[in-house]
Symmetry: C2
Subunit: 396 residues, 2 copies
């Protein structure tokens, strides 16, 4: 995927760069946005294949200008080094756009105000939605990167049963999974759009800790180790009759898979087995529906129907606290479009990569259900996290 010279600012192959730029410009045209100034790391990475400090100025016609603060020594067409954003004005002065799109859902208010002053004549538009919609539909190159992350992610999960040792806590097991993930090449970085969601390397939820309500908008919670980061493992010892839900970071190359599997120690409550089977059945049903043109909310509704038929709704997506979605786009960030939620307006499209996570919390047992990441193709859905889906039992 990468150009040969690492000093080139744009690391994408020429065709891939042009393909992404065309997609961005098509979306800009739809929103009547004559120019866009991109500064979010995820969006710059999408456009260029690298993270750098600075901006990308994308006019709907003409050359892209890359305004770079750091690192030193980058080269290529359109690269302009700046020390402060005000220097952008000089390069744009001959061609001031009528309106300028900035990432208003991501950029701090002060940064937008400062950048807007560089374009005093231009109307301010919101580039966040444009970039979110563009990035929701992956190129084949992007899907291949997610596929590669998936292969490593699956490999790491295959080693989990061997990492368990009698008497372990959730955190002790999580640390060993983190180690294996990192040695497999996991980058660790867990990109979430919006800065109020925090999580370190993923979640291992054991027993009733799965039912501890968290402030964060993840599907499952957990009390965490400390009130400064109230999510995930809380030093619970893994006991017979517990499930262990593993939902660990799958970012191996800048693009992530999202994947959850369940392990258990000894026999577990038949209700948990029933709920786990329900999750598998929902996956089967939704992947058969997940074709270009399907409204995302129909997927949510169908899943809920299945859950209610089986009378599992008190446990669905949490017990004391319920999550409001069962799936989400995934790629550079963990919370991309489409969102599989009751009032979602998203329509499934070819090129979407979607993590489905119908899960249940069974009191006194723990969390069950799986999460897979799927690529949506024209006439089928490809599972990018193909690993055994049944509950895996630790050796007692």
């Amino acid at each position: 995927m990468q150009a040969k010279d690492f000093n080139n600012l744009v690391l994408l192959e020429h065709d891939e760069f042009e393909r992404r730029l065309d997609k961005i410009r098509a979306a800009m045209a739809e929103q009547q946005m004559p120019a866009m100034l991109v500064s979010d790391n995820a969006n710059k990475y999408y456009l260029t294949g690298r993270v750098y400090a600075g901006y990308a100025y994308i006019p709907i016609e003409g050359e892209v200008i890359f305004f770079v603060r750091r690192p030193v020594e980058l080269q290529g067409d359109g690269v302009v080094y700046i020390r402060k954003p005000e220097e952008i004005a000089e390069s744009i002065s001959l061609n001031v756009p009528e309106a300028i799109g900035m990432e208003l859902d991501i950029l701090p208010y002060s940064s937008v105000s400062r950048m807007k002053a560089v374009f005093p004549e231009s109307e301010l538009q919101n580039a966040s939605a444009v970039m979110r919609h563009v990035r929701a539909v992956k190129t084949p190159v992007e899907i291949e990167m997610i596929r590669r992350s998936g292969v490593k992610h699956v490999h790491v999960y295959s080693r989990i049963p061997h990492l368990y040792q009698a008497g372990m806590t959730d955190m002790e097991l999580q640390v060993e999974i983190e180690r294996v993930s990192r040695l497999e090449g996991c980058l660790g970085q867990f990109r979430i759009s919006g800065d109020s969601m925090e999580l370190y390397m993923g979640n291992v939820l054991v027993g009733d800790n799965a039912d501890a309500p968290s402030p964060y908008d993840f599907a499952m919670g957990g009390a965490g180790l400390d009130p400064s980061l109230p999510v995930g493992a809380n030093d619970s010892t893994i006991k017979p009759g517990n499930t262990v839900m593993v939902d660990m970071n799958g970012n191996y190359d800048g693009y992530m898979t999202d994947m959850t599997r369940v392990f258990a120690l000894g026999d577990i409550d038949p209700l948990a087995l029933k709920a786990h089977q329900c999750s598998l059945d929902i996956h089967r049903e939704l992947t058969s529906m997940m074709r270009p043109g399907t409204p995302a909310k129909d997927l949510y509704a169908r899943a809920e129907e299945i859950v209610r038929e089986r009378e599992l709704h008190p446990y669905y997506m949490g017990h004391r606290q319920h999550a409001g979605f069962i799936g989400h786009g995934v790629g550079i960030e963990i919370n991309e479009l489409p969102v599989i939620a009751p009032r979602s307006r998203d329509i499934i499209a070819e090129g979407n990569v979607i993590a489905l996570e119908p899960k249940f919390v069974i009191p006194h047992t723990g969390a069950v259900g799986i999460e897979n990441t799927y690529a949506v193709h024209a006439d089928h859905v490809e599972c990018l996290t193909a690993a055994p889906e049944e509950i895996s039992y630790f050796d007692v």
Copy 2:
């Protein structure tokens, strides 16, 4: 530090909560800010001792109102559950402030616009600077939490020589340090104000990788494993003559220490030894100057003077790319006030906790120099990362 009932929204002891609130209100009075709506996780954690989803409304007089979206089941004075920010208006309606402070340097433009609509009559003010200044001066309870993180951080570093094995890469060593850190209780979360700085768990820099320019505004760079996260270890094998600079996450309880030590394999360039000694001497000199009332820029200038006297400036704070600061406040976040930089306007104050990191990059050898975290008291400076400062040699 924590109240007994974990369901209480405010986990701080009553006196500590009042102390922090008084400090915030004194700063608000100075800025003529009649009310503040806090939504940043770090600021909510400062005020309450926990992270929750929602807002804290702080009028300069009267009761604080905690508007909570998640988690469920929190209790206490002033707790009001809301589903969306617009519901805040109802609780405030009898007492609309003339102006409302929001964290404009952190909150996305769209969020500020949405929240501002809740206060249509109120002038918008910037709460970011207020909270940054308040948090720059720690309470004794906060210093004690940083001190505790420091003890664990030091303990982890003491094990590093035992983790090294012949033939290791930077990343292999880093993964073993990460594991030991996590088992010691490291929370992993690396809070940085502003969302364009990214780093996973810290940096292990070996040999010339220390000289690879990074886009991020850290003191040292590193190429990283992938252009999506271009910082830190890059799979360099640790070779004789290399230094290994370790600067790993020190967040063990919501408050962090920042600490760097240097290891080496075999004999290293005498220039590197000289530069390391220079770093130690700068620490000694600056901690003797770091008293309440000292301008931060004087510390920077004095360090630079020492470096120039010894003709080490080509290597100081980087070689191909130079960092523009040699120290920073640390606490809940890694980039707090004061900043030790040439044009800093900050004045050292009692209660500051400051990480000093005069470092050097020596071509073909690697990075040298140490980082310690210091608490500033009325008449002395306390080192919160007290560990041997000399270069530690791995067994060949």
